[in-house]
Symmetry: D2
């Protein structure tokens, strides 16, 4: 597949994700972390227009200069951004306008990609592809939030598979202490935060071959886990109290029976499914209750070759910090990762919402510890 | 026109107001005071279903029991309400669903209205008509807010006339002191807050025959009115500082020239137009600067037969309080007006957004003193 | 008594109120409406220094220019004010420093008052006396708040009488409809908000000769008054829910028995005492539950010559608005009353905390409808 | 020195710190992170009473059961705590009451310590000593905040030395890559968070022998460091904008000249002094601007034997996380450290406010990245 074909394939997949939506579903922003689907479609388009077409495609005419204002996200270098909390107030540009914008930019991009591309530009294009894939995952989780918090609990697509059962027996995999190498090595695409590859010393640890499932987490709930501060961080406990949390996101106790919202609508809780939509605080509290702990991101990276992963983003104990020798690129592209390296937790793995080819063993995802609208799960270490 | 025809005429007008909208415009709620247009369309329908069809139309089948939850506004008596701030998060029911709901209820209402109706029900139907008309005015002002706060400043309908020029010479009309009668008298529809008709004593006063126009208000701005706390109430001054207010809503100073957003889009400010979109705080400060004051609602009601009114809702100095002998109806209908009688200001008159036949000289509108998304203006008294 | 003797008498009374306090009690500000006692002592002193000594006493040396910043309250004209919420953060000037400041200013004031005083200055001095008396009442209610919200419930002074029993039989006093005169008339001190004296038309009404007592209010509580939104304004109901209100301020239900905090400490509730420390919202809800209403301030002023008053500030239905012909004085003194004439309710009467000679039948007190740390009570009208 | 003598010495030092205070200074809590000095004096006393006297001293009579409510801090296990933000509202117990409480508990403690003590109790007593020492440091920094944010800028004690000059030439100390041992080793007192001693792999790095001084930081300010988002974390930048930060805490630009508040009052900025009172966000931004970075806590611990440290707490790049094998003690004592191990940054070193014998090379201090009322400084790494 050449670059233009790759481009088209990735871009079409974003639109496929949105195909089951009503126009109204594209517009709303129920919480600040969730963006309106139409904004994702516009923002990823703006990325290609701003970083590739405008500086590098000779003769390219900007589609609409107002869009720079509307679809910028957090790139301080590129003009004023729309305050994030305002995104859900913008009825215009309409969904149809944004699809027109996509078509316009796609045509220009295909023309551009069909010409010779130098190495530096190739990297930028790769970044654009991976950026769009990141937004594809957010599209899926944001859509789930939008529909799953609607009092009518509309289904998205009954054929969409985001859940998976734990099938194999749980084993503990033991990794011996020693110096290990961590971080990306190779020539394929990777983010700046996966570098430098460097040595870490690990103590001996044993890690579970399986993620926690709903049945195991129900035991925690039924044992009063949400009522006992001993299992929680102080700020986790405040979060539980302030937000009156008593179960994972999307779980509902109706007449004594547990249901959860899935892409098929509100369903009876399937206990054999892998647990998802928990915060780091909950993951930590669950591990404390079990007398175990979460892995560090280094333990995870070394152990992951010994188990299946990819069903769920897995909270680690590690804070999101730069690797030794990390340096950010100059300009707006340099804002991609480095400036978020405080007060966030690393998640490793991938989820059913992660686009194919967008996961690897050195990938570092990161979220604030209270967030749970991503497909987040728990793996334990002893 | 019989009741069923009247019903259809009023209902169709709500839909006519929405005709220029894109689907996306129906969904958003940029501030808490503004409701999504689709919510207005659903809520007025729910009103007829809940207060007429369900209790009085034999054999009526409720359209969808979830809608009771979604479209209730502030009627505490009728189940749980959707928190007002959440309305903008609801992508479903879709606009198409709500139009289906309207069709279903409209057909049932027409059948119902074509049967004999007793006097008490007649009153309730009249209330439903007036309720829908109140939401028609809100639809127009909410749509203006949604479009006028969009960075693209889309036009609504270039033929929609909401502005009017001051044409006649300004005169001062003098009313002599004495006992006057205030409040509704007659057999036509009126709200409970217009009763009882009662006597008030007025001192001699002189009131302007004209509303203030943009040119007059610009003088206030240019004289530093927004920078001098002497003209303001203490809480008005806090409002100015906290919200960095320096002009009426929808006014924009661009390269030294004033523009304002109208239903035709962003336009150069027409100085001859009647001023609108000011808060009570601004109206009071402007009057102080002029060495004049706002009328009380009683002064206004007595004087209004001597001048043209209806171009703008006019802030009065009066707080919204019950008239002597006011009593509220039992049940949910009794929640209509009385429970808002604290910390709001009375506005008198009507605006270009007020439906025909929905204004009268005894009508008491009311809003919090900081609000300005309605078509609010200023008339002065000496 | 000459002016200097009057001055000393009033000033000493402020210090007598504070005599039972520990130094620590002078410092804290548990809510924004309550000021630290030491601030009251400094602010009233600053008033005399700023408006009398500095402009009018020849050769007067300002005590400390920083005090202007610390003790200004809301007079926008006179330099920067300390943000009200910061008062409780200021440990300095110390209590001893403030007493020194009082002594310094008192000595200068006595010298000043022993010289001939012209008529205009006489008015300003009278305003200073009344200003200090208003702060004496606030001192008492603020001290009650500071001690009554301390988990140790310290007593203030067991001999301090702020409570009174209802002794006479309750009668309804009927006032016939007609035109009445309202507002201050005479040559003695009065505030600008009591003018102009003007005519109002009153409808026939009957008003209770007694205030509501604790026993009567307990019936409202026991009848579920705090659980039934029908009795409340919409914003009163929000206030109840948000703040989880279920009884008047200072009431505590301990093991099924009602106590309240008084100046003698925590005591068993005396049911025969006149009810106090309720908000306007509660006064209104109580009246609704009784099928009665609160008086307007005009009704109160006309009826008050027929009953005893002065035990409690009485909530009226009236909003705090200017009388016809009201005008404010030029300069900082003009900020005294007029700028608060929005979103507040008028209270009439006086309380046991009101200094002698500081109450009259035309006096207009005003507070926001949610406040209840003043000695506020309820009188009903039919 | 025996245990009782040690106890008295430590306890007296807390009181010595408070000796220069006015009574009023003991009471206030200007921000949530700062506790009133009288609270510190009560809380440390409560700690000995609750964890030693009540469970272990036979026949001990609790001083006042209400104090358990007032002086508990965050120990969820031991009854209800006073909401932290309420501490500044409590005028009682008075300062004198608290000194009586200290005397009472001190006498009981001395009797208790003069009897034979077993090993486990010895550990608890050591914890009590160290706990009081931690609060001694907080007392000093909280007093500085209370006085330094008072508009009168009162001095605390002109002889108190908390500042120090950078004297030696700055050198870069290079540590070679390899496996190093981190964490406490030995038999003396240490906190649970310093264990287990474990191996880490360090890459080669060079660290400055000196902390940054005011002159160096001024260059950053003058180079526009607070106006250029490129140097900041995204949330650091938000912090700068929201709080309008433009200099370290206690710095004031007066008529073009820099002053800072010290324990001697407001002083001209001494450029040769070591910089203090910066947040982690500022430390990070400064390092970015320099093209350098902050050390990790592991780098610091290994390098610190090669330079002088102890003048300032030094921000590290490390998040506060458990060491391998960390486990918390059962019961309330277990709440000491572990529950704060999320969203905080490690600081290493000590400050002039740290009591003697309360610092060591493995000590892990931790604060949220926005805080700067501690004596926090910057050391750079390449």
């Amino acid at each position: 597949m050449n670059l233009a074909e790759q481009y088209i394939q990735i871009r079409k997949y974003s639109e496929k994700i949105c195909a089951p939506l009503a126009t109204e579903d594209y517009v709303v922003q129920p919480i600040v972390d969730v963006s309106p689907p139409k904004w994702h479609l516009g923002h990823t388009t703006w990325f290609f227009e701003t970083f590739l077409l405008k500086p590098h495609a000779i003769g390219y005419q900007e589609y609409d200069e107002n869009y720079n204002y509307v679809f910028n996200s957090y790139y301080e270098t590129v003009g004023n951004r729309v305050i994030r909390t305002d995104r859900g107030n913008l009825s215009r540009p309409s969904v149809a306008d944004i699809y027109k914008y996509r078509t316009y930019v796609d045509e220009a991009m295909v023309r551009f990609l069909n010409k010779p591309i130098n190495g530096e530009l190739k990297e930028l294009i790769d970044l654009g592809f991976n950026h769009e894939q990141q937004h594809q995952e957010l599209l899926i989780t944001d859509i789930k939030y939008i529909l799953g918090n609607n009092p009518l609990f509309p289904a998205y697509d009954k054929d969409w598979e985001t859940d998976s059962s734990k099938i194999s027996e749980t084993e503990l995999i033991t990794i011996e202490e020693g110096v290990y190498e961590i971080g990306y090595q190779g020539d394929a695409f990777h983010f700046d935060n996966e570098l430098n590859r460097h040595k870490v010393y690990l103590n001996t640890f044993s890690i579970s071959s399986n993620l926690i499932n709903n049945a195991e987490y129900l035991e925690f709930i039924e044992a009063g886990g949400y009522q006992n501060f001993n299992y929680w961080h102080a700020e986790g406990w405040d979060w539980v109290k302030t937000n009156q949390i008593s179960a994972p996101m999307y779980w509902h106790l109706i007449d004594g029976e547990w249901f959860n919202y899935t892409f098929s609508g509100l369903q009876k809780l399937d206990k054999s499914q892998i647990l998802t939509h928990v915060s780091y605080y909950e993951a930590y509290a669950f591990a404390s209750w079990k007398g175990m702990r979460l892995p560090t991101e280094f333990e995870w990276e070394i152990a992951a070759k010994h188990f299946d992963w990819g069903q769920r983003w897995e909270w680690t104990e590690s804070a999101y910090l730069p690797y030794p020798g990390f340096s950010k690129a100059p300009g707006a592209i340099g804002e991609y990762n480095g400036k978020f390296m405080v007060n966030q937790k690393v998640l490793r793995g991938a989820s059913a919402a992660t686009p194919e080819n967008h996961s690897r063993i050195t990938y570092r995802n990161f979220f604030h510890p209270n967030l749970r609208w991503q497909f987040t799960g728990i793996r334990l270490v002893k």
